[in-house]
Symmetry: C2
Subunit: 320 residues, 2 copies
């Protein structure tokens, strides 16, 4: 898929900008812990989306690059803290930050990324009015992410969750950061309010599709490829769309402990397949992506517009 | 002291603004956990300082009130996370957030306050150029606080720490938020760059004095009055200026475990008294406050200027 090459190209620019904007300074171990997950890889989909959104309205890549870095920092901040909360031990194929540096260090590493993200975005070379608008959107999004993560954890303790509740949770936990990426890219690139709003609306839908695909990948991709434990969500009792569908269609779902064997995980996944729950979720993901793409119609025809469309498709077809 | 009344008056305005700017919305428990420590009290010294700094340059209290709230939110965010990291169980006379709601909730409650602080400040009714400058200062300060907290924890593990290292740590952990409060108040109130800079420089010094006083209070004030365990810093092996002085003057300091009895704490404190370490630290605090106050000379004479001076004195004479 050509869009992957285009994401990689922009991801490389983002990586170079991270080196410059988040150097390892004193206290060295704090900044090493902050950089660790960033340096461990990641697809850089969010910053690439921000850049392409800016390009789609005629913006300059170099000018929006710091904002793209800020978004990736926010994303990694949420991952570090989520891994603490979910007690995850593996991320991007490496031990999680709290496992490697301990809990206090992981909290601080996350907070440092959070602070640096705002510091970087506040210093962007753009009209102050646009900058304070971007900061307003980003900070609102960060509060949404907290709410979404809270709901996600709260749902783990509940017997059942409705599809609407799941959609609301995922929109906050995952979608808003995609939508913010696209909107900030648009605004900094010179988009009209109407187009900026459409970028937001498009990526809110597409972002939910992304999360559903993520939930599916958790079940079907082996650990060695996805860089984290397979079936993790099942063991954590996450109420994914797949599980919500399965709970509606069966009274007896496998219940996995945190120490489940490979065979137990295989059986649980096979049950979800047999119930049609995985297909159901994927159909929903594709439907949402199509709805999102239609919102992008307002953009003038261009290669970046095509890329945003292809990126949307990639988000629900990716295999890691 | 009259300044206390003036702080209280402004603190009340801040409390009312908190009600409006951080209402309990869905998910309710997340916002309750976020508001809990704020509602448990606190002296509101930082937001009061911000307001008085704005007044000292002719600014309008109502206009800077949201910024004052943002500062108090940031302060409480750091307290919630610090209590997790230091495994503290009591704050402002109440169980800490992580004790009451659990670790994941406490992390999220802190992050929510952090996000809301930036959201509030980004929406202030002021020229966008000033707002993005305030955000730049505040985000830089938040990164400094992370660095300071990191150093504070790292020092706990070390046998000795120099006075310079202590000063550097405290400046980051504590002073910068006071300095930022005064500077943002100044900038939003219409201060020139020169005056805003002086406000910063003054409160950096005074803030160190505040922290030294805090270290002293930890030793001499009974739990019932200070709302947290007495001698906490000793049990956590914090390298306060008192301890740094004592280590230079004795080879045999009492070493307290986390389960130290009242008698053991009394003996350890008496030793620090006998070594002159508490007096040494207090002299230093007063000296720093005097240096800070002299930086305020550039302000035009006014009641708010006097209040800033009195507030500085209060910060090293307070008994809780």
């Amino acid at each position: 898929m050509q869009v992957l090459e285009e994401i990689k190209k922009r991801g490389k620019m983002v990586d170079e900008a991270i080196e410059k904007l988040l150097p390892i300074i004193q206290p060295e171990e704090l900044y090493k812990a902050s950089r660790y997950l960033l340096d461990a890889g990641g697809k850089r989909i969010r910053p690439a989306m921000l850049i392409i959104a800016a390009e789609s309205v005629g913006g300059d890549i170099q000018k929006v690059l710091p904002a793209a870095v800020a978004i990736e920092l926010i994303h990694n901040f949420t991952l570090i803290h989520d891994d603490i909360m979910d007690q995850d031990e593996l991320r991007r194929g490496h031990p999680t930050v709290h496992l490697k540096w301990g809990l206090p260090a992981a909290i601080l590493a996350g907070n440092t990324l959070y602070s640096k993200a705002f510091e970087i975005i506040a210093q962007i070379d753009a009209p102050p009015k646009i900058i304070s608008r971007c900061i307003c959107i980003l900070s609102k999004t960060c509060a949404d992410i907290c709410e979404g993560q809270w709901m996600d954890m709260e749902f783990e303790k509940r017997g059942s969750v409705s599809e609407n509740e799941y959609m609301d949770m995922v929109q906050k936990k995952t979608s808003v950061l995609f939508a913010t990426s696209a909107m900030i890219g648009g605004l900094l690139g010179g988009a009209t309010n109407k187009i900026a709003k459409s970028l937001w609306e498009a990526e809110i839908k597409i972002g939910v599709g992304f999360q559903i695909r993520d939930d599916v990948l958790d079940l079907i991709i082996p650990e060695v490829k996805i860089g984290k434990r397979r079936g993790n969500d099942l063991m954590e009792k996450k109420k994914t769309l797949i599980i919500i569908h399965a709970l509606k269609n069966s009274n007896k779902l496998y219940s996995l402990s945190r120490k489940a064997s490979r065979e137990e995980i295989d059986a649980a996944v096979q049950q979800l397949r047999d119930l049609g729950s995985i297909d159901y979720a994927m159909d929903k993901a594709v439907e949402l992506v199509e709805q999102g793409k239609s919102k992008l119609d307002v953009l003038p025809d261009s290669r970046p517009k095509e890329l945003l469309m292809e990126l949307a498709d990639y988000m629900v077809t990716r295999t890691y």
